[in-house]
Homo-oligomer: 377 residues x 2
Amino acid sequence: MNDNTTAPGEARVHVSLGERSYDILIGPGLIASAGQQIAARLPGIRAAIVSDENVADLYLEKLGESLSRAGIESTSIVLPAGEKTKNFEQVIAVSEAVLAARLERGDAVIALGGGVVGDLSGFVAGIVRRGMNFVQIPTSLLAQVDSSVGGKTGINTSHGKNLIGVFHQPALVLADADVLDSLSGREFRAGYAEMAKYGLIDQPDFFAWLEKNWQQVFAGGAPRIHAIATSCQAKADVVAADEYEGGKRALLNLGHTFGHALEAATGYDSGRLVHGEGVAIGMVLAHEFSTRMNLASPDDAQRVAAHLRAVGLPTQLSDIEGTLPPPDILLEHIAQDKKVKRGKLTFILTRGIGQSFVADDVPISEVLGFLKEKYTQ
Amino acid sequence: MNDNTTAPGEARVHVSLGERSYDILIGPGLIASAGQQIAARLPGIRAAIVSDENVADLYLEKLGESLSRAGIESTSIVLPAGEKTKNFEQVIAVSEAVLAARLERGDAVIALGGGVVGDLSGFVAGIVRRGMNFVQIPTSLLAQVDSSVGGKTGINTSHGKNLIGVFHQPALVLADADVLDSLSGREFRAGYAEMAKYGLIDQPDFFAWLEKNWQQVFAGGAPRIHAIATSCQAKADVVAADEYEGGKRALLNLGHTFGHALEAATGYDSGRLVHGEGVAIGMVLAHEFSTRMNLASPDDAQRVAAHLRAVGLPTQLSDIEGTLPPPDILLEHIAQDKKVKRGKLTFILTRGIGQSFVADDVPISEVLGFLKEKYTQ
């Protein structure tokens, strides 16, 4: 297999970024063939696999063997699972381990895991020796359709999520569809929220397709691969148009300004709220807020909420377990989010399903008034 | 004053990097006019000034007032002086301070200091919010002619110097020639070594000019500004041709592979050896090693050593105070330097003054043999 063919049942998405272009392969059995795929693109390298305890138990041996068969010597670094791992201390530990293994600029850091592992190890790959090769093997649906594509890397600080990081594009993304069968329903749904997002941004037909076919996507097989590939292509198109988030790329934040604030407000406690769930509620809030601003019909907001509720995602504040901080504290979290320019609130709003846009000048009083309403529902 | 004029006695060097292009201004009084210069290029921003204790005492108030007069609100972060500050702990502290000041992506981190402050704060500017604006106000000669130009940022780890960092171009560099009068002779000479380097890389005429005019460069005035501007232009040309160090940019490492190893071998103890001194010895060693490899005439190595000795720089291992580790340990430091590709030693060698080139495949045994000889001289 070389980099111009796909195996049966496999899809390929090309991310066009000039010298930094790369392929995303989506299909079954890609962990087992990872060595071949990587060696074809990065001949002669050595590698450091970064994973977390849960994923390492399931797939680390298989990946190490695949690399070894392809002549790629590797070392592995296993981190605690969970969002709290995305911190500076782990960046230091992983960077030191990569340097201790004497990896050079042309060698690769391979992320084997979900968004936490991908974001953290991508950041490490971006800063060790001012940028090493990086390969993503995302093992959650969320990572396959979102975080592994586009080159955003980063960690959290006490001031908020993903406030420290770099843009560092991978050399290859391998989305192994088989691994999704080991996800819990809740994890799968969290990733599904990001797939739905691409429909809501600018692909109303894909959203309608999901409304009809979501059960098959959850069940697996060809419709699932189609949905993942469509999502990756949607993200790749946006990233190719705006690699460093100067404009259009901000659309990918649909639902994320509210979502990030909710994650912060729940102390990044995955027992209460995971990222995709925050995005699901955030997307509904973005549509409802757009309705309040007389931009969109209330029917669209209801349709979004109905679909996300049907697949089992939370869609409103009261779906979050426990007590939320008051609206002004939530607003504080929103204002600290990085999508703020010169003190004015930037939101992704919408004129309807598949008609989202960047609003640069949203009055803070309107957001506070809206949140206060939502707290009483 | 706008960004298309220069004041009397001022020089301007333009670094051509497409969207990331920027100006370097070299002249007197630039700290006092920094506010105007920055506001003209980055209207409406707020800023965090990063400095060290020594430089802050001399110039922080003046810079803060200049920013204030131009309507730029600023906060300042003052670090301990010295190479040991370039570590992860300070990156965390400065990043947290920038976030605590609620600076946004369009706001600026301003480095007011030498290479340590510039490298560290440039790295922070490169990773906070995945890249903020960055302004360099270099206050050492070394920083003015080298580290402030070209976008390399970074910190040290126990594995070596500058092994962690990013490429992050400044939006503006202000090299205030007045501040050089507060440097010690030793500091000025250390910067001078990097100026001489540009002559040795590919500008034999500039090296010959320095041989004749170095006393005037040390004395100040127009020849000094000419030498700084010539150096910045030389570096800008190399950087424009190879921003991410894929090829030609490696030439800037002339003298640095030996130099970095000597800095590591002396524990980064500036009492024993500062960076520019390591580079001075390194450049002489690079010429002598090139002679040993039958690439260059011994006359050239002698001419380089003679000139650097004339200005008061160290030129041989025995000029370093205290005991050096044995040659094989020095070789170990060389091998860990980042200019290593796939286990082969990469050196910048030369065919004579102004005729340097990248040698990708230098036999490790030759380097060890050469070092053993040098230890006995």
